[in-house]
């Protein structure tokens, strides 16, 4: 067959879209097999969020001010907890090496993993947020913005976290090292994410925050998979 047809067929079989579909489906399937692990992560989120009022004050006004920030910090921590899961088991049994050797483009495979990770971590957090917002007495408009910011921001957490997870593969220090590496990178997401609801509470427009989150998501989408792929290759050397 002609070169163009051969290329088209190769792309259909091993191109970016095929890689995304394969990688996302696989990781989702694997995640569904250990649903309890996912449930535990969500429970962690719920418990952490509940701890702050207990530690500080049940004063409604203060809680309303703190609410978005606390929910965001808890989202960061929950994300950190779930990151090792991205690569650990694949790395341990040699599957990751096979994945890296496959004809699929590795950055696309990384994006697929991140999408699956977000669907099982970030998305449930965003869905749970309104319920937890009740604990902090957040008003409906604030909750809406909070959920929106979480929907935009948690994928960024997954993309950036994947880089950290890949870098710390086979390194000693485990979860704490991952946290040290990734949390500084999370700071802008935290600021703009929590700032969205805070802006609304302060009477300002939340649009700039959301736009910046969206921009951050685009940048992460374009850049992070390549850094993650590079880190995976380094870890496999």
């Amino acid at each position: 067959m002609s070169t163009a047809m051969a290329l088209a067929e190769h792309d259909a079989q091993y191109g970016v879209v095929a890689a995304l579909r394969w990688s996302t489906a696989r990781d989702l399937r694997l995640a569904m097999r250990s649903r309890s692990e996912l449930a535990v992560q969500l429970l962690f989120y719920v418990i952490v969020v509940s701890l702050f009022p207990l530690a500080a004050t049940p004063d409604r006004v203060i809680l309303q001010a703190l609410g978005p920030g606390v929910l965001w910090v808890a989202a960061l921590l929950a994300s950190l907890l779930s990151l090792p899961r991205l690569f650990a088991s694949d790395f341990a049994d040699g599957t990751l090496e096979q994945i890296a050797l496959s004809p699929y483009p590795l950055p696309a495979l990384m994006t697929g993993k991140v999408i699956a990770h977000w669907l099982t971590t970030g998305l449930p957090l965003a869905v749970l947020a309104p319920v937890l917002g009740l604990q902090y007495g957040l008003e409906p408009e604030v909750v809406t913005l909070l959920v929106l910011s979480l929907l935009l921001g948690t994928p960024i957490l997954s993309f950036l976290g994947a880089i950290g997870a890949a870098l710390t593969l086979g390194a000693r220090g485990g979860g704490s090292l991952l946290a040290l590496l990734v949390l500084p990178l999370y700071v802008p997401v935290l600021i703009f994410g929590a700032g969205t609801a805070d802006a609304m509470r302060a009477g300002l427009s939340a649009a700039p925050n959301l736009s910046l989150l969206g921009a951050g998501l685009l940048i992460a989408l374009v850049g992070a998979p390549f850094a993650t792929a590079a880190s995976v290759r380094i870890a496999l050397d």
């Binding site: 870098l167 710390t168 086979g170 000693r172 500084p184 700071v187 802008p188 703009f192 850049g223 590079a230």
Partner: protein, 245 residues
């Protein structure tokens, strides 16, 4: 005759040994000169009194903390692009010095803030970004220590440094945004006093002192790293200084 011959650790080792004392002495002389100008010649500030003299150590340290990270990122890019060892070793040697400079900037900044603006820590954009920079430095050092294979550590730390470097402007921008929103108006908390030119001179001389000091320390450290990683090779075994040890 090109400079590239010095990109081999074996060739750079003696050069570093030759250069380090010169930079150390240059640093000492600049420090003496800078402090003499800063304390002896520069007048008392109208608003801040004698407390402003802290800027002669605070600002150079802060500049160096950022400059060293940029240089680290540069060597990391070179290390990844050309797969060279010495550039990675140089990045490895710079990280601790960068962390120390960041710490000095934070500490002196806190002690400057207390008498001038009433608080040791004010969550302003520059100091908060400086704090995150310290965490970035710690992260690079921690990752280096966590990976056993030196070449793998080289590459992993290079990626981390570059990712961090891309993020630093974003982090600074986001913290500044957050800070101006919550500050409301006006006061730039870490604005230096309107500078008489003599104060600027002292600050510049002290910056050179910090720069030369960092180079000297990095050169000595890279020599140690070269020995640690290249030991067992013939050129190391042939070093006259070691045979005397």
């Amino acid at each position: 005759m090109s400079l590239y011959q010095y990109s081999a650790p074996a060739a750079f080792y003696p050069v570093a040994g030759l250069l380090a004392p010169w930079f150390a002495w240059a640093a000492a002389l600049c420090a003496i000169a800078g402090l003499w100008i800063g304390f002896g010649i520069a007048p008392t500030d109208f608003q801040q009194g004698e407390a402003y003299r802290i800027i002669f150590i605070h600002v150079p340290a802060a500049w160096m903390s950022m400059f060293i990270y940029v240089v680290m990122a540069f060597w990391s890019i070179v290390a990844l692009a050309f797969n060279t060892r010495l550039s990675a070793m140089m990045a490895q040697a710079l990280a601790p010095t960068g962390a120390w400079m960041t710490f000095i900037a934070l500490w002196t900044g806190a002690l400057w803030g207390r008498p001038t603006w009433g608080t040791y820590w004010a969550w302003d954009a520059r100091m908060t970004s400086e704090l995150i920079l310290l965490f970035l430095y710690f992260g690079v050092v921690a990752l280096r220590n966590a990976i056993d294979d030196p070449r793998r550590a080289d590459r992993a730390c290079a990626v981390l440094t570059i990712v961090g470097a891309v993020n630093i402007p974003i982090i600074y921008f986001s913290v500044q945004w957050w800070n101006t929103l919550h500050q409301g108006a006006s006061v730039s908390l870490t604005a230096a006093p309107r500078m008489a030119s003599i104060m600027l001179t002292a600050m510049l001389v002290m910056t050179f002192a910090a720069w030369f000091y960092s180079i000297a320390v990095a050169l000595v450290r890279v020599r140690a790293i070269i020995l640690e990683r290249e030991r067992g090779s013939a050129w190391v075994a042939g070093l006259p200084r070691l045979q005397r040890a």
